[in-house]
């Protein structure tokens, strides 16, 4: 189902020129948004890299390594918190084939790589703040030599008291992870809407709980790696696995103290990112670049799985205190939420993650009175970072548990209760943002309840007293599109058409398995130009493309693809004009489809795509264009957390059916039903892939994945023996998704983005299903068999 509910355009550039307005991005985005018939958009077009990948021919960073390149081995801290009294590299340097040992003092530019706050060195300086922090890089002629020498870098530590518990860190002033901050609070957020006292006074039921969620490792198949080659293409070229080539470029430039134009970054195929390589990718690249810069030789770094797990940022661990109230008629009256994020040793993107959690704390519901306080707290553990959902899965888990508990107290079915409060166009969010369009979640949830058989199962299950108990649960979530608040966001790309009619689009968006550049970007360009899809090549992940932002925040096919849409649309306008002259018709009558150019309703007057391009070259039509678009943003007041938080929201829901073995605590997820209100589905095949992958990753997070730290903050399971992720045999049946295509006015063809979505409600849906099966509220993740078993035992659910 497709809906067109558009508000007034709130911004219109005054271009003045008549010609320019034809290529005005607002006009072009709007024009293609209103398209009614499609050639390739909305179809399950096979991705360009399918065969290459199936045959094992696709190349990843490591495949570009050649013998003779230098190898870099990292030396990681063995202390959670200590002063570095000295680093003795002499012994390591005397080992055979060792070329260099790099420490903080060797960095020619700035040793500062914090994304949100300037609190993080590339290589530890002065002190170490977690067990696993990178202190030195050993550069040697081969991997064996580097590995051997790395053991002989002697670091003289003076241990400092360390702090691991975020609640303790919040209180204490005597042990500080960052002395200069004066406390262990890295960042705070706040929302004040209405008056919560008044809201709670109107409540007939109140639910108050404390929730805890845990870290998660991305565990991408391909660990972090980078290869830096001095002088290639006239610059220092770095081939790396990073989710934003331009960010890697600027971090490298900063660390080396050279202009960004001296650095080129290429991101080849990537073996998974999930946000982890948004944070760690540029740092990996900077380490390789540093070695290449200082030695003048091609240098290669590849993390072992253990190094990766010990040092790269993790999904945030949280403590969420949540109080909510509702009236007898099933309307939410107020929420009061305190969110504590254990950010570990560095803030990294923690402040942004906390903002996202804060703004989404209500769940996708209308609540008149809201108070939310967020704390991003330093501890001496591996730091938190971006991970599919970005602060949202944890807070939606808490919000959705609250919804179930309120519904239970009110005696209303949980879906029915949600529907009574659900955000719809015309309602405001907890930041008082008016939703003017693109909010199709209520419809999606209604459909989902039907296809899953919700109402009967919800009554039937949850009453058994036998060993195996079934439950069904729902999680509904929302996820703001683009960066939060007024943080600038834009898109761009460059497209050119060669004389033979082949088309190349250059984008900084990367291919990390999700397929944005190799599927949806191609479809968008083919649709807009009308050129045959085989003629479209997308060159992705290159800093030589105009900066169009990162491949994160589910933006690869939404904001990230506006650039290719606008660039293609500009060229299409010119081609329409040219064709109208050639075919003697008006530009709006020109049809370009399947390699043919003709007048609508008159197939007789036809030329081929190739002929049209030849004419363009001979008549002086520019067949190259960039597609810059700066996303308009509203006002947001950080001090009270009120205003426009995001240009629009994607919505997602999941219903999960589980069976709990009360004697072992094992939870089997039998089936999940996903629903998505994420605007236009450009490629259903790709979207299904994203939903399935996210559902499984979410299930793994809830049921089995956990990092175990010892009392020094050392990770005890940094390996695949004891960090357990789902296998094919753990995967539940995943139903065909329900789609509500609630178009977003600035999305390409109305697309809002999908990548993170299905993971966000998974913890809530599964935990709610388990709570339903047992009749016991689950407030803490993960729900391992052991955890469930002891809940069962504690509540005397079995003899």
């Amino acid at each position: 189902m497709i809906r067109f509910i558009f508000g007034r355009r709130n911004y219109y550039p005054s271009s003045g020129e008549i010609m320019a307005s034809m290529e005005d991005p607002y006009v072009l985005i709007d024009k293609w948004l209103r398209a009614k018939e499609f050639i390739v958009v909305g179809k399950g077009v096979a991705r360009a890299d399918a065969l290459e990948k199936a045959l094992g021919k696709a190349k990843y960073v490591e495949d570009y390594f050649q013998s003779g390149f230098l190898f870099i081995k990292q030396v990681l801290s063995t202390e959670p918190h200590a002063k570095i009294k000295g680093i003795n590299v002499e012994e390591a340097l005397r080992k055979p084939k060792v070329v260099k040992v790099i420490t903080a003092s060797d960095i020619p530019g700035e040793n500062q790589v914090g994304y949100a706050l300037p609190d993080q060195p590339l290589l530890a300086e002065g002190k170490v703040r977690f067990h696993g922090e990178v202190v030195a890089l050993v550069v040697a002629e081969d991997i064996d030599a580097a590995l051997e020498a790395s053991e002989f870098v002697r670091i003289n530590y003076e241990p400092l008291p360390h702090i691991l518990d975020p609640l303790e860190a919040l209180q204490r002033k005597d042990v500080l992870v960052h002395e200069e901050v004066g406390s262990n609070i890295a960042f705070r957020t706040r929302i004040r809407k209405g008056n919560v006292e008044e809201g709670f006074s109107k409540a007939d039921v109140i639910v108050e709980n404390e929730y805890r969620t845990h870290h998660q490792d991305h565990l991408y198949l391909e660990p972090e790696g980078a290869l830096a080659i001095p002088g290639l293409d006239g610059r220092l070229t770095v081939i790396t696995a990073a989710q934003y080539p331009h960010l890697a470029q600027s971090i490298i430039a900063r660390v080396l103290g050279v202009p960004a134009s001296d650095i080129k970054v290429i991101v080849p195929y990537m073996g998974g990112g999930f946000g982890g390589k948004d944070d760690e990718g540029p740092l990996t690249a900077a380490k390789a670049a540093l070695a290449a810069y200082l030695t003048g030789q091609p240098s290669f770094i590849l993390y072992t799985r253990e190094e990766s797990m010990r040092s790269h940022p993790k999904r945030e661990a949280t403590i969420i205190k949540y109080k909510s109230g509702a009236s007898r008629d099933g309307k939410l009256t107020a929420i009061d939420v305190t969110i504590v994020h254990d950010t570990g040793a560095y803030a990294n993107r923690g402040p942004f993650i906390l903002w996202r959690a804060t703004v989404h704390a209500s769940g996708p519901y209308h609540i008149p009175h809201a108070k939310v306080d967020g704390y991003c707290v330093y501890t001496n553990k591996v730091y938190q970072g971006s991970f599919r959902g970005f602060g949202n899965p944890s807070v939606q888990f808490a919000a959705e548990a609250q919804m179930d508990e309120l519904a239970r107290k009110l005696g209303i079915d949980p879906v029915e209760f949600r529907l009574r409060n659900m955000l719809r166009p015309g309602l405001t969010t907890i930041t008082n943002q008016l939703l003017d369009h693109s909010a199709g979640i209520a419809d999606a949830v209604e459909q989902l309840a039907k296809v899953s058989g919700w109402y009967s199962k919800r009554r039937e299950y949850g009453v058994s007293t036998g060993r195996f108990r079934r439950g069904i649960g729902i999680g509904v979530a929302w996820h703001g599109i683009s960066t939060s608040r007024g943080v600038p966001d834009w898109s761009n790309a460059y497209i050119k058409i060669d004389k033979d009619g082949s088309v190349t689009a250059f984008t900084g968006i990367v291919e990390m398995g999700q397929g944005s550049p190799t599927s949806s970007h191609r479809q968008i360009v083919a649709e807009v130009l009308g050129a045959p899809i085989e003629k479209i090549k997308v060159t992705f992940g290159t800093s030589d493309a105009p900066d169009g932002g990162a491949t994160h925040a589910s933006r690869g096919t939404s904001i990230g693809a506006i650039g290719v849409l606008v660039a293609a649309a500009k060229i299409r306008e010119r081609l329409n004009k040219l064709a109208s002259e050639l075919l003697n018709c008006s530009p709006d009558e020109v049809v370009i489809k399947e390699g043919k150019v003709y007048v609508r309703g008159d197939i007789e007057r036809t030329i081929t795509w190739e002929e049209l391009i030849k004419h363009a070259y001979s008549r002086g039509v520019d067949l190259s264009a960039t597609g810059y678009f700066f996303l308009p943003k509203g006002k947001f007041d950080d001090t009270v957390g009120q205003g426009q938080a995001y240009p629009a929201f994607s919505y997602v829901a999941m219903i999960a059916e589980v069976e709990v073995d009360t004697e072992t605590g094992k939870v089997r997820v039998l089936k999940v039903w996903p629903a998505l209100a994420a605007g236009r589905i450009i490629n259903p095949q790709q979207v299904e892939g994203q939903i399935e992958g996210a559902a499984v990753q979410g299930m793994g997070y809830v049921l089995m994945e956990q990092l175990v730290f010892d009392d020094k903050g050392r990770l005890l399971n940094p390996d695949l023996t004891d960090y357990v992720v789902p296998t094919a045999l753990d995967v539940p049946e995943i139903a065909k998704p329900v789609y509500v295509e609630d178009l977003f006015k600035y999305g390409p063809f109305g697309a809002k983005g999908v990548g993170e979505m299905a993971l966000i409600p998974a913890p809530a849906a599964i935990a709610n299903a388990v709570s339903h099966a047992l009749g016991v509220r689950i407030t803490k993740l993960p729900i391992t068999p052991e955890a469930v078993y002891f809940e069962v035992k504690k509540h005397g659910l079995i003899k």
């Binding site: 990681l76 991997i143 064996d144 590995l147 051997e148 053991e151 072992t304 253990e306 190094e307 010990r310 004697e663 072992t664 094992k666 089995m704 175990v708 005890l716 399971n717 940094p718 023996t721 004891d722 357990v724 992720v725 789902p726 296998t727 094919a728 045999l729 753990d730 391992t784 068999p785 052991e786 078993y789 002891f790 035992k793």
Partner: protein
């Protein structure tokens, strides 16, 4: 954390005699079968040795033989061959059950049964079924051969009754028709997982009474263990759910689990009881008895 294998001398034997010659002439050595345990242990430096003797190509130790009243398995038989063997499936299906749940297809195609036993991990999954089958291990050295009952082979974590110049040659499993046996493993996911607890049980029933009962568990003591108390309790008793449930609780007398990243000791204890009961029920089902 170190991932470079320190240098060692590499020797490869192509016959058992050659291997025995090699090990008797070397001192500081380890033998390499499939290497799925050893290579990792060398990397993390659980062992540092001067010499490695590769025995993986000794064809004469790769077999599954059916002698009628017993089944013999060569030490270098791959786990996947055991899972696929019609002899094993017919005569000692409980071993096939255990092996099928081990590791992954790729690992099972290089890992050997001898390696699983000689590695002597408390979590070795072939141990519980071999314990309840009363298997004996035939050990060989230049001095000759000897037989050791499996329960006497495991001395502690990574410690076995093997003498320094001795190799495991084969596993001998008596065939006892009319017994029902089963294996249950609790891991942290549905496949490709090390056991938190695994249990094998074997029962023989005469006139609705337990004529014989054997129970073995892994991951709950320094070595795989027999649960003798529980076995004794059931012998001679009537087959009933109550008796089984009572007996299962007695496994606690023979186990001493620890807490680690995989599970707490308390969970392992409780699960030992649950799995023992479930396995006994399943073993009875195998001989057509429902309780």
């Amino acid at each position: 954390m170190f991932y470079r294998i320190p240098k060692f001398n590499y020797y490869r034997a192509s016959t058992l005699d050659e291997a025995l010659d090699l090990v008797s002439s070397l001192n500081d050595f380890k033998v390499l079968a499939g290497g799925t345990d050893l290579v990792i242990d060398l990397k993390v430096r659980r062992y540092t040795v001067k010499n490695v003797v590769d025995i993986s190509r000794i064809k004469e130790l790769d077999y599954i033989a059916d002698d009628g009243d017993r089944v013999r398995i060569g030490a270098l038989t791959k786990l996947q061959s055991i899972a696929d063997s019609p002899i094993i499936r017919e005569k000692v299906p409980v071993l096939a059950d255990a092996v099928r749940e081990m590791a992954s297809w790729q690992i099972r195609n290089i890992a050997t049964i001898g390696g699983n036993l000689c590695n002597a991990s408390p979590a070795a999954d072939t141990a519980p079924p071999l314990y309840v089958l009363n298997a004996t291990l035939r050990l060989v050295s230049k001095e000759g051969e000897r037989e050791v009952p499996i329960a006497e082979f495991f001395l502690g974590p990574r410690k076995t009754a093997l003498r320094s110049k001795e190799l495991l040659k084969e596993i001998v499993i008596p065939h006892e028709p009319g017994c029902g046996a089963s294996f249950l493993k609790l891991g942290r996911r549905n496949s490709f997982t090390l056991s938190v607890v695994a249990v094998a049980t074997l029962v023989k029933v005469v006139e609705n009474k337990f004529a014989d009962v054997r129970i073995a568990l892994n991951s709950v003591a320094p070595t795989p263990v027999r649960a003798r108390k529980a076995e004794e309790y059931l012998k001679g008793k009537e087959v009933s759910l109550d008796n089984i449930t009572e007996a299962a609780k007695l496994v606690l007398h023979d186990i001493s689990p620890i807490s680690d990243v995989r599970a707490s000791a308390e969970y392992r204890k409780d699960m030992s009881v649950v799995l023992t009961r479930d396995s006994l029920i399943k073993s009875l089902e195998r001989i057509g008895i429902k309780v």
